[in-house]
């Protein structure tokens, strides 16, 4: 199916002005969050009706408000006006005109809308998408790559140029997957599956956020997307698959503290599924679903009291000794 090429569809002026809008929106700072800085095919496709609508509505706004203000100014009551103005009751032709005019505008809005609806749902144009299962949990994300047999959490890695097809579901309540620069959001419904695909086209780090109220720490259910060159992605995936936990004192501490009841580390007896997979944890940039940088003292704080780092966190406070925490931090950062 031919995809609408953005560059053809969006007039040059509009294209030139969009970044300005993004800047204004950002309060004049580059953010890496804006829906106007697309970094995938789908995000670009969405921008077609988006910018169409934006300019249509701005145009309508200006015309209608200007007419309103003009009418108020022009027809304000003035000294020496007669008692009552001419009593006009209506005008059928005018009525018909301003019924049809919006209908015509809507027709022009509807076309790119419908085209994009069908182009972005259904099967992706690429034959062999990278399949990923995304599972929402209160309040973290699980990313599973079934083809490669790897699982990770809160940080999604993708190759540039290859379509990623996400199968979205939830184990508890409704969440919603949203990476503004990768395209629109799609809900993770418990008890059923949704799909969402997009093809990242620029290497980089992108922010994601849960976009459906899902309880206490909905605000703290964030995540990152890393888009790599295909070779780098392969290296990352292979590295994760080959990760082995050192059979160390730290690992022992991990087991006896009860962490394995909830957390899994590939290649070890730790296979709990209630909490995020910790394989390759040391390479992650953030902890607790993207809300803190992965630094030893913050991690220690997390182990000391998850709830005070993230309200409502479903990881219990295990009353670990400082000694134990130090061991665990060292172990986790080495994963």
């Amino acid at each position: 199916m031919p995809r609408p090429a953005v560059r053809r569809r969006v007039p040059a002026l509009v294209r030139a002005l969009l970044p300005a809008f993004a800047l204004l929106a950002a309060g004049c700072a580059e953010t890496g969050w804006s829906t106007f800085e697309p970094a995938s095919d789908v995000a670009r496709m969405i921008l077609v009706p988006y910018s169409d609508l934006l300019w249509w509505t701005i145009g309508i706004f200006v015309v209608v408000e200007a007419t309103l203000l003009f009418a108020l100014w022009r027809y304000r009551r003035r000294e020496g006006d007669p008692d009552v103005p001419e009593q006009v009751h209506g005008h059928t032709f005018v009525e018909i005109g301003w019924t049809i005019a919006p209908a015509v505008v809507l027709f022009f809005i509807a076309i790119p809308t419908i085209r994009t609806i069908f182009a972005t749902q259904g099967d992706p144009p690429q034959r062999d998408p990278l399949e990923i299962v995304v599972t929402g949990h209160q309040w973290w994300w699980e990313f599973e790559y079934p083809e490669m047999g790897i699982t990770t959490a809160n940080e999604l890695h993708l190759p540039r140029g290859r379509t990623a097809r996400l199968t979205l579901t939830s184990v508890d309540v409704i969440h919603s997957f949203w990476v503004p620069r990768m395209g629109g959001k799609r809900d993770l419904n418990p008890g059923s599956e949704n799909t969402l695909w997009f093809t990242p086209d620029s290497v980089g780090e992108y922010h994601g956020h849960c976009a459906e109220l899902c309880g206490t720490s909905h605000a703290n259910m964030r995540f990152r997307v890393f888009v790599h060159e295909p070779a780098d992605f392969a290296a990352w995936a292979d590295g994760l698959a080959a990760k082995a936990a050192p059979d160390s004192a730290g690992f022992h501490a991990f087991l006896i503290s009860g962490c394995a009841a909830c957390h899994a580390i590939a290649g070890t007896p730790a296979q709990g599924r209630l909490g995020p997979e910790l394989t390759g944890f040391g390479d992650r940039t953030t902890i607790a679903a993207g809300i803190y940088p992965n630094e030893p003292d913050l991690l220690a704080g997390w182990l000391r009291s998850p709830d005070s780092m993230k309200p409502g966190a479903l990881m219990p406070d295990l009353n670990l000794t400082e000694e134990r925490i130090r061991e665990l931090v060292a172990f986790l950062e080495g994963l």
């Binding site: 809008f21 309060g27 969405i46 009593q87 409704i174 959001k185 206490t216």
Partner: protein, 628 residues
């Protein structure tokens, strides 16, 4: 022109004590009760909003915690929608509809009182939750299965679902009452096409209430059964789906937003002609576009669910349906501008708010059209862009429109004028404040800020606009403060209002301010859509709206014939209290439920067997002196 009966001249046969208010069946008093209650809850909901804004003024703020924040926006949304805008509109329906159609009361005066008291008990029940371990916290549309026992074990959701059910019953009762009143009780000659636009929009709103509220009632019943009796309507583990709730809620919810906007459309359609000193442009078109909005409103609910994965066909169908609504809404807007065009616009406070409503609603409507395009909505849904849209339509549309109505009819209701100076200051502060508060939210949404987050990290580019929004919120609060000051000052020492301070055209201005208990000393005969104006100015060049060249004169000071009014009654209050007790009983225990049911049944039976007019009921006119 018209004679102004001073407020003090109206003798009250109902008396003024507390009991007279508790037992009142006078639609005007019920209207005042609704209005006072709504303005009180407006402060409550507003303070909740201010706390929300304070929390979000800066990143990683710790003013309130996550759970409190969730309760705050849930209660803010629920309060503003169900405890402020609906009852404020109901206040105006109650007070004005009988006056505008030439009736002495509503069709069922006691049912009317019952509606108010039931609403009041429901609203109290909702707010009690703050003091019993936590208010509801699942958002104003309470998506399942976050509301399930498992994920929401506290009592907040129980309070929410019970109070919404109780208030729903109140709304349906009022819906029946006002539909019958408008269909049945119009004065001779007041054909449907001659009804004031406010009455028309009231009629459409009642029909929407009647058709929309049963659906949320069913949705809430399922939720109640899930939580209280262990069913699985919304529980995925047993095959249920939380999506069902979303459908049931929004089949109600979208008509509900039109329930909230149409009264303001009606007010603006009556206020603009008065101050432009011209008839409403394209009257039949404005009426039929209101009907069209109401009807189409039932076919678009899934535009709130574009991200649930309904598939391209459903997305397209609901997008097209939603787009269509822009057409009748545009017709209204253009006709309002057409009304101003060629007029002699008199700049009084009601006009300011009416124009403010039109100009701000356009912004909200246009952002709604953006949402209506599913791909665009995938980016905007559940972001601050939606928060911007909903406040432009709710605040810029409904609240501004209702304030236009408040300033317009205040003299009629209270018999006193408001200060124009304070009114205009209120307007400008509100207008500036709302734009400073809500416009930046568009940018926040485009920039990826999700709604309903109690905190955000620094460095996301959201800090500045959030701070601006918070400042704006306090500007609004200051403006609103001026309104309350203005209101209190007017009640204490405002100049007395004449019968017809704005030189208006509809029947409610034909009687003293405030109106006597019996409304109309003589039931008016109507020959035009602008009966009073026709009387005052005679037939103008165009005679298309009236059949005879005579208008409806203003009312005489005393009724020439005997008028009987209904007697006060305790039973509506008793029945409503029964509803309230039943609701609380669901949280306390079966005996209390049974007690409540007993009260309700007793109240209903006593009420059914009590004659509407009993010995000693208010009687006015020449016969009254002999009769008593």
């Amino acid at each position: 022109m018209t004679s102004a009966a001073p407020a003090a001249g109206v003798h009250s046969l109902y008396g003024g004590g507390i009991a007279s208010w508790l037992t009142t069946v006078d639609h005007k008093r019920v209207g005042v009760l609704y209005g006072v209650t709504a303005l009180f809850y407006f402060v409550v909901g507003g303070i909740e909003a201010l706390i929300i804004r304070l929390q979000l003024a800066a990143p990683e703020s710790t003013l309130v915690g996550a759970d409190t924040f969730n309760q705050l926006f849930t209660m803010h949304g629920t309060t503003m929608v169900f405890l402020v805008l609906m009852p404020l509109a109901a206040a105006m329906f109650n007070y004005l509809v009988p006056l505008m159609i030439g009736a002495r009361d509503v069709a069922f005066p006691r049912l009317n009182a019952f509606s108010y008291w039931t609403f009041l008990f429901g609203s109290i029940l909702l707010n009690v939750s703050f003091f019993t371990g936590g208010a509801p916290d699942a958002g104003w549309f309470g998506y399942a299965n976050l509301t399930s026992e498992q994920y929401n074990p506290g009592m907040g959701i129980d309070f929410w679902l019970l109070s919404l059910q109780i208030m729903g019953i109140a709304s349906i009762a009022a819906g029946v009452n006002f539909t019958v009143t408008i269909l049945n009780m119009r004065a001779p000659g007041m054909s449907l096409m001659r009804m004031p636009l406010f009455v028309w929009m009231t009629l459409v709103v009642q029909v929407l209430i009647l058709l929309a509220f049963p659906v949320i009632t069913v949705g809430l019943v399922f939720l109640m059964f899930d939580r209280f009796f262990g069913t699985h309507f919304y529980i995925p583990a047993a095959g249920g789906t939380p999506i069902l709730w979303q459908h049931l809620f929004w089949i109600f919810g979208h008509p509900e937003v039109y329930i909230l906007i149409l009264p303001s459309f009606g007010i603006v359609s009556d206020v603009l002609p008065t101050f432009a000193r011209k008839p409403l442009f394209g009257r039949p078109f404005v009426i039929f576009s209101g009907l069209a909005i109401g009807f189409l409103g039932f076919g678009v609910w899934s535009h709130h669910m574009f991200t649930t994965g309904m598939g391209p066909i459903a997305d397209t169908a609901f997008a097209l349906g939603t787009f269509l609504i822009a057409i009748p809404t545009g017709v209204k807007i253009f006709n309002w501008i057409g009304t101003i065009w060629g007029g002699h616009v008199v700049f009084r406070t009601p006009l300011y708010f009416a124009v403010g409503m039109v100009s701000m609603f356009i912004i909200g409507g246009l952002s709604g059209i953006m949402h209506a395009s599913p791909p665009v909505d995938w980016q905007q849904h559940d972001s601050y862009f939606v928060v911007a849209h909903l406040h432009y339509v709710f605040f810029g549309g409904t609240v501004m429109g209702l304030f236009a109505g408040i300033y317009y009819w205040w003299p009629k209701v209270t018999g006193r004028m408001l200060s124009e100076r304070l009114g205009k200051a209120h307007f400008w502060l509100t207008m500036i404040g709302m734009n400073v508060t809500f416009f930046p939210m568009h940018f926040l949404g485009m920039d990826g800020m999700p709604r309903r987050i109690y905190t955000y990290a620094a460095g996301m580019g959201w800090d500045q606009w959030n701070l601006v929004a918070t400042i704006g919120a306090f500007v609004i609060a200051l403006g609103m403060l001026l309104f309350y000051v203005n209101a209190v000052r007017s009640l204490r020492s405002g100049p007395p209002a004449p019968a017809d301070p704005w030189d208006a055209a509809t029947l409610e201005w034909s009687m003293s301010s405030p109106p006597p208990e019996y409304n109309f000393a003589v039931v008016p005969e109507v020959h035009s859509a602008r009966p009073l104006w026709l009387y005052k100015y005679g037939p103008t060049r165009d005679t298309s709206t009236h059949t005879r060249e005579e208008g409806t004169p203003s009312q005489p000071d005393a009724p020439p014939a005997r008028i009987d009014l209904p007697s006060p009654s305790w039973w509506p209050l008793l029945a409503a209290a029964g509803m309230g007790v039943m609701g609380s009983g669901a949280l306390i225990g079966l005996p209390v439920v049974l007690l409540g049911a007993g009260l309700l049944v007793t109240g209903v039976f006593l009420w059914a067997f009590q004659p509407l007019e009993r010995p000693g009921h208010p009687v006015f006119g020449p016969a009254s002196s002999e009769g008593r």
